[in-house]
């Protein structure tokens, strides 16, 4: 009986948490930015976007290289290695670009955001800011939220581009796929509106979700060191699950209806 009680209580706590998180998101997103806010936003764009650039570029490159290699070995059995360009490009632009970027983002930038905000909460910085009369949602949370939403699609585009170049390096320069058909087939089969723009839309959605989770977990954590560590772990886990789940839904909506 006790276990069921506990389960019920946990579920209700989780649902209450989602409600609080939604409230946080609504209150933060609709705050009008001030002039000073732009400086804070740029600052956060640096911490969240620029500092993630290295891991994104390196990961994109390696994934592109692997895609080129694996793709070649599979396609060559069917005599279709000219399709390598198409395969690498579509895989990256539609799926791996937005998804892997989001997962990496959650691990690096997301957990950093949670830890930072959680620490500010634990050391009463958020409370003292409020006592001085400055709304911490506006000063601390909003710039970080917007920075995440804006940098995610940019990082995903860079990831896909670097990956395609990596695939080209393996396929054309190393394994001898004809340069013309690599690009030509790709151009014939990758559509700007359907594939690239949809990929960007995906990464915007992921950006909102991952940053939102990261920021909320930090804001709502227990103000102790154990609380911060739990919150950081939760950010990575929840963000990853959310990204993968949403990816399926978005893919079904965007690409599933293709005739």
């Amino acid at each position: 009986m006790k276990a069921i009680e506990q389960l019920g209580r946990n579920t209700i706590d989780r649902i209450v948490g989602v409600g609080e998180a939604a409230q946080l998101l609504a209150r933060t997103l609709f705050l009008l930015p001030s002039w000073r806010g732009v400086g804070l936003f740029i600052d956060q764009m640096f911490r969240v976007g620029v500092l993630s650039l290295l891991i994104i570029v390196v990961s994109g490159l390696f994934i592109g290289l692997v895609l080129g290699l694996q793709g070649y070995t599979i396609l060559v059995d069917y005599g279709s290695e000219q399709a390598l360009g198409t395969m690498v490009a579509l895989t990256l632009v539609r799926e791996l670009g937005p998804v892997v970027t989001a997962l990496l983002f959650a691990g690096r930038a997301g957990s950093a955001l949670t830890a930072e905000i959680g620490l500010m909460k634990a050391t009463e910085q958020l409370a003292s800011m409020e006592m001085i009369g400055v709304d911490p949602l506006r000063r601390v949370i909003a710039p970080r939220l917007w920075a995440g939403i804006v940098s995610m699609p940019m990082l995903a585009l860079i990831f896909s581009s670097v990956g395609i170049l990596g695939g080209k390096f393996v396929g054309v320069d190393w394994l001898g796929v004809y340069d013309g058909s690599f690009w030509g087939n790709m151009q014939n089969n990758v559509q700007f509106l359907n594939d690239i723009v949809n990929g960007v839309i995906k990464s915007v959605v992921f950006g909102v979700v991952c940053t939102w989770i990261a920021v909320y977990q930090g804001y709502a954590c227990m103000p102790t060191s154990a609380g911060i560590s739990t919150a950081t772990t939760r950010t990575v886990v929840y963000s990853s699950l959310a990204v993968l789940g949403l990816d399926f839904v978005l893919t079904a909506v965007m690409f599933g209806g293709l005739s």
Binding site: I42, V50, L157, Q191, I196
Partner: protein, 167 residues
Amino acid sequence: MRARTTELSVGLLVIFAAAALFFLAMKVSGLTQTVSGEGYLLKAHFQNVGGLTTRAKVTMSGVTIGRVTNIYLDPKRLDAVVEMQINKDVNEINSDAAASILTAGLLGEKYIGITLGAEDTFLKNGDEIELTQSSLVLEDLIGKFLFNKATEPTAVAPATDANSGGF
């Protein structure tokens, strides 16, 4: 100075992202090559479109002059109607030109090839290409080959038995 480098690097990030987008648009999706809404519509009826999809290219003498925009079943004639959009500067396709569904490469990608006719009148927006050649279906080809083999005179008669026996 610290604020300077921050803004500088954020600016660089935005530039990289824009460059990536540009690269993806131009080099990867061939945005410049796609017919961007400036063209005219032509139609053609086929018995069998066999694997032709929308967005397949329409070529003349091997050069891409347009795209397939729509494929649907004609409710009255019960054959396939293919609508294609042709570049507007390719406006001298004779009324007796022929459209065939051809296969590109081993992967079996279908596309439409247009061969010119001899008439002096040219097709305009909304016109139909009368002469069409449907897609070649592999099973039909094999069937045709067997039939030909079976009806070949004398000398290969014994081979026929072997053939029909084998199948």
